[in-house]
Symmetry: C2
Subunit: 110 residues, 2 copies
DNA sequence: TCTATAGTTCGGTCGTTATCGAACTATAGA
DNA sequence: TCTATAGTTCGATAACGACCGAACTATAGA
C-alpha cells in the first residue's frame, strides 16, 4: 500500500507538532479529520488553491500529525491518533476536545 | 497588588495559546515555570538579552498562558494552570507531561 | 492514446515574528 | 539624591512561513 513517509514515533517533536497545529487552516483540517476519520485533500481544504492545500498537508505529515495513504490518484489522510497518544498523552484529546462533532459535521456537509 | 493585565478566560484562543507554546524559548520558560511555581523573568530566560526576554513574556501573557504579579521592581510570573484547565482541559498537562520535574530542576539549578 | 483528475513542486511576494542594541521607566536601597 | 536593578519600549534587521499561480507528475477512465 503506497503512502507518504511518516516520521518515526520517537522523532515526533513537541515544538514541531505544536507549530503544525497552531495554524487556523491546519487546525481546521485536523478537527474535520477527527470527525471524518479519513478523507482526501479536496474534502478538507475548502476553496483554497491546490498549492496551499499541498503545503498544509506536507506540514501536518512531516510533523507526524497525519498519515497519507495513497490509493490510485487519491490521497487518503487520517490522524495518527494512536501514535500521538503514545508520544504526547492527552495532547490531541485536548486539542480536539473543543471540536463539537455535531457542529463540525454540520459545517463539513454544508 | 499590581500586575499586568491578563486576558479574560473566555477570550483565550486555542490558536493563540498553541502559537505561544510553539516556540522553543517559550516552551522552555513554561516548563521551568511549572517546576518552579513562580519566578521572575531573569530566572527564566538564561543568557538572552532583556528585550528578547520581555518579548517572549509579553506573548505568553497576552495569550493567557501566564500571569505576572508585580512586586516592587520584580515581576513574578506563574502559569495560569487553573484557568487554562477550565478553558482547554488537559492541554497543559499534555504539554508539561514530558517535563520531568527532576530533570528540569537539575537544568535550572546548574 | 487522449483527457480529466488529484496532488506536488517551483518560484516569487508579502506579512509576521524572533532577535537584539539602545534608550527609557520605575522601584529599592545606600 | 544617587545608583543599581528589573523590566519595557522602540527601531531595525533577518528569517521564516503563508499564500498563490503556473508548470509538472502520475493515475484512472474513455
Amino acid at each position: 500500500m503506497p503512502c507518504h513517509d511518516s516520521p518515526d514515533l520517537k522523532k515526533l517533536d513537541l515544538i514541531t507538532v505544536l507549530r503544525a497545529l497552531a495554524d487556523p487552516v491546519r487546525l481546521d483540517i485536523v478537527q474535520r479529520l477527527y470527525v471524518l476519520g479519513e478523507a482526501n485533500c479536496a474534502a478538507l481544504i475548502g476553496a483554497r488553491p491546490k498549492s496551499s492545500m499541498s503545503h498544509h498537508f506536507q506540514v501536518l505529515r512531516e510533523s507526524g500529525v497525519l498519515h497519507t495513504r495513497i490509493e490510485g490518484v487519491q490521497h487518503h489522510n487520517s490522524l495518527r491518533l494512536q501514535e500521538l497518544e503514545e508520544r504526547f498523552p492527552g495532547l490531541m484529546q485536548s486539542i480536539l476536545g473543543g471540536a463539537d462533532a455535531t457542529q463540525l459535521r454540520r459545517q463539513t456537509s454544508s
